[in-house]
Symmetry: C2
Subunit: 201 residues, 2 copies
Amino acid sequence: MAQDTRERLLDQAEALFAERGFYGVSIAAIASELGLTKQALLHHFGSKEKLYGEVLKRISSRFMALREQLSDLEPVQGLKDYFLALLRKDHLGSHATTVLMRELLDNKRRADTAGTWYLRGFLENLIGQVKEVPLWRDAGDAAALAFVYQILGAINYYEISQPTLTGIFGPDFYRRLDTNYPDQLVQLIEAGLAAGPPSGN
Amino acid sequence: MAQDTRERLLDQAEALFAERGFYGVSIAAIASELGLTKQALLHHFGSKEKLYGEVLKRISSRFMALREQLSDLEPVQGLKDYFLALLRKDHLGSHATTVLMRELLDNKRRADTAGTWYLRGFLENLIGQVKEVPLWRDAGDAAALAFVYQILGAINYYEISQPTLTGIFGPDFYRRLDTNYPDQLVQLIEAGLAAGPPSGN
DNA sequence: TGTGTAACTTACCATATGGTAGGGTGTCAA
DNA sequence: TTGACACCCTACCATATGGTAAGTTACACA
């Protein structure tokens, strides 16, 4: 029961942090959404910063789980599945990528590494998987990461643009775009992998 | 002289909005950085929201200028130059992309379309340029936009990740990554364009 | 010389915020 | 029955914030 409240607070916090960002949400707003006062929240988490840390931790553990789930495949297919799972946000919840994006923007000034420690494992795993593709076997880590980052960007930037794109082009157009995006992402992954690492490296 | 102060306030606001986001910066902080009080800022801009709008407007006009500057080239080369210019942030200032990214995240709740109206022309121009590539001549607008967005994502997501990536992998590794990123981006653009639009569309 | 106006300033204010202090209630073990 | 503890509340506080009101200074112009 207590665990239940904690979990619900974390859910609410994750959703609101995603929507408004760390500075845009008050702890009172988070608690009030569940019919609680901010002191209930402070009782569970101690401070706003700590609550935010727990939200990041929870997201990170979901990424970990997704990572382990898809690692035993043929490398190219594995990468495609991996990135498609990210695009569909399988088991990540609908706000994970947004919160992470905001963290990328903010953690330059927040000196802590709360959001980065787990990204390391995540990225290294992807680098490894790219280098298992025959054509990429001799690529440098930097080249492999560059490719990974291009695809991650294609996924996440598209993700956060949904409201804006719908606003600009209308819901019908957006639906058409969204239906085909996964296929076009797969196509880009295949094309990029087939092109191989840059010759200079 | 008055114009000068206004411009300096806009510069400072753009930098701080990029670093901390709209809610993370106070107008007092912006003004104080120039040795002024927040009332000087309010005198020039009326309110914080209006100041923010002016910052977006200024960024948008720079995008417009860049767009006009590079439009008369052979389509593939034109696209490569275009995207490379975005990656290098030619004439955009170092904070434009970050501010825009934050705007994408925030304008879901801010109902206004301050940030979107100009993006339309920008994106439509890119769509047109993609469809001038022979292989893409019969592609739908949605397919062309999907491709454009993949590249924009590869550029902008990478851009905001610099501090995090440097923190994770160290400055040496990041430098290697950054040196090769433009070439790998060009390679991805070429590969993606050569693959053509998805067959289903 | 007077008048207006742009470009600021100091005072002030209502509101929101994160956080502390301390109290109340229920549950569970001794 | 009592004590401890988890859970949540009301009361309170110092600080920060966006914004208003009312000057002050300097300069342009008639």
